[in-house]
Symmetry: D2
Subunit: 174 residues, 4 copies
């Protein structure tokens, strides 16, 4: 399903940066977007999210229809037993799903979260969390995404949360 | 529905403190909890949630089956357009619903979030947000809560998010 | 919350019919719909739903922002233990929420269900079930509704299911 | 993901029957169930669901962690435009998810639906619908399943609905 989980976040970020610096020279059709331009747009948007910075989250992977965000564990993110709070877990997988939807949205559109549903299937215990958002269907107005959050340690990756979300494409103001 | 929205957060906190300092002397039955003891337990648990402190959230009201949490707006909580991020809004209403469920749970039990669903019905713009969690049904194992988040300014209070959540009672370890 | 649960379904239907036969003569503004015209439109739409007839469901109440549907219990609707199947319960509360949204939609628009979430809080045991759909927020494109299903006997009415649903307004084809 | 969609329902049913008639002779451990015994139990339970018969649904595939149910289209299942009603679609994918969870549940336990969320991503138009329920995580008490419903014609299979559901294991009464 996700074939690059073993890559370090640092390597991922380096790879993403390379793509982000590439210039987009060819657009194949009205439907196909230049991924490098989309990556730049998503990175700029991510950096403008105060909450991602407050939580310490990092954008680590952007591809057509799929986005990954990494969240190192910190006691600042805890619930009362020291696990990561459901709200912190939800924040990163919501952003991952929203940006995944953005890779499929028309160029002059933003994506807003209409609603989501999250199951918390295990206590969120780990050195860091990897949120993976994927587009399942994308229409003119609405996209449906599924997401998961994995708790990671040096030798293990376990699903702790599952999301199903509805995103809407809204035209950007000029 | 909520009859004390106009009270200031400060007044609310003062009132809550009074209750929290009261000693619980009478327990009416095995099923009925001493609310002051529950308030103390919830305040201690809330204070142990690193995320609530990181976000700047405050516990402002605890009654049987209903809990309110206030979240002053700060750019540290924003999404890319400067509104409060869906994840910040979700964090406080999840905690409000969880603690509302705790007021109805057996004394030797904790509450964990099984899952929730949140609709974001308006952009989260306001000076502060008030998350209100309420128990709709509470059984031996499972409680269902509904929550709402209101964006507040000096003269207005508008619903920006609606939650429906499933909470589970789990026995505390000795 | 619902103040007319004690009225019999027959009385409700009689009352609804009266309204449905009334002619709509005055429209107060572009935003305010003539309820009698809406009732007629909803009754015609309900009668065109093959599934409602297959299940034996009846439209019993239509008002601005709220619709009730009644479903008498029958073994044809059961799950394996003889209770009403979650799918039958969901069918009627989905229709109730959809039609509630329709009372608030622009006149030249239909309503489609984008998604819903349902909690089943007690076994669906009763002589009949009353599904109540209510609009919580209604915007230009999207409405959010909450619904509940009550199991009813001659002297009791108990909530067995709770829904939170997202409906979308779509323009009718000419 | 699903490798046997091209098999006809008839062939599937024949294959399932064969398995159901096989005797279960070896149980490898307390945790591992004999699939043939589980298939028999699920077929008996499915046949006891009045609603599945009322809708015309058929159990077509049972394996460890995954169950398929087929629903031929009929105007008796329609909403007002002649498409299959969201409630009919939901009914079959709820049963598929519930029985998928049952393949992973302890032998002396039943499965009940705690809640589900369904996105309707395209109009449900097709000759028949195939509901596929899969277990994503299964713990001692709770299982989380994802489901999809595909609209099928002679040469096409398109996802029309996506479910994420919470199932609970409850001990069977003696």
């Amino acid at each position: 399903m996700v074939d690059d989980l073993s890559r370090s976040a640092a390597a991922e970020r380096a790879r993403t940066r390379t793509f982000l610096n590439a210039q987009c020279s060819v657009v194949y059709s009205a439907d196909i977007y230049c991924m490098s331009r989309i990556r730049s747009r998503i990175e700029a948007s991510f950096n403008a999210q105060g909450l991602m910075s407050t939580l310490g989250a990092q954008l680590v992977h952007v591809e057509d229809g799929e986005v990954h965000i990494s969240l190192p564990y910190d006691t600042r993110l805890s619930q009362q037993h020291g696990y990561a709070h459901a709200g912190a877990i939800t924040s990163v997988v919501d952003s991952a799903c929203g940006y995944a939807a953005l890779t499929k949205a028309p160029e002059d559109h933003e994506v807003v979260t209409v609603e989501f549903k999250v199951n918390f299937v295990r206590p969120a215990v780990g050195e860091r969390f990897l949120a993976i958002g994927k587009v399942r269907t994308s229409g003119r107005l609405v996209a449906v995404c599924t997401g998961e959050v994995r708790a990671e340690t040096s030798n293990q990756s376990t699903v702790v949360a599952l999301m199903q979300a509805t995103m809407m494409h809204v035209r950007r103001d000029a």
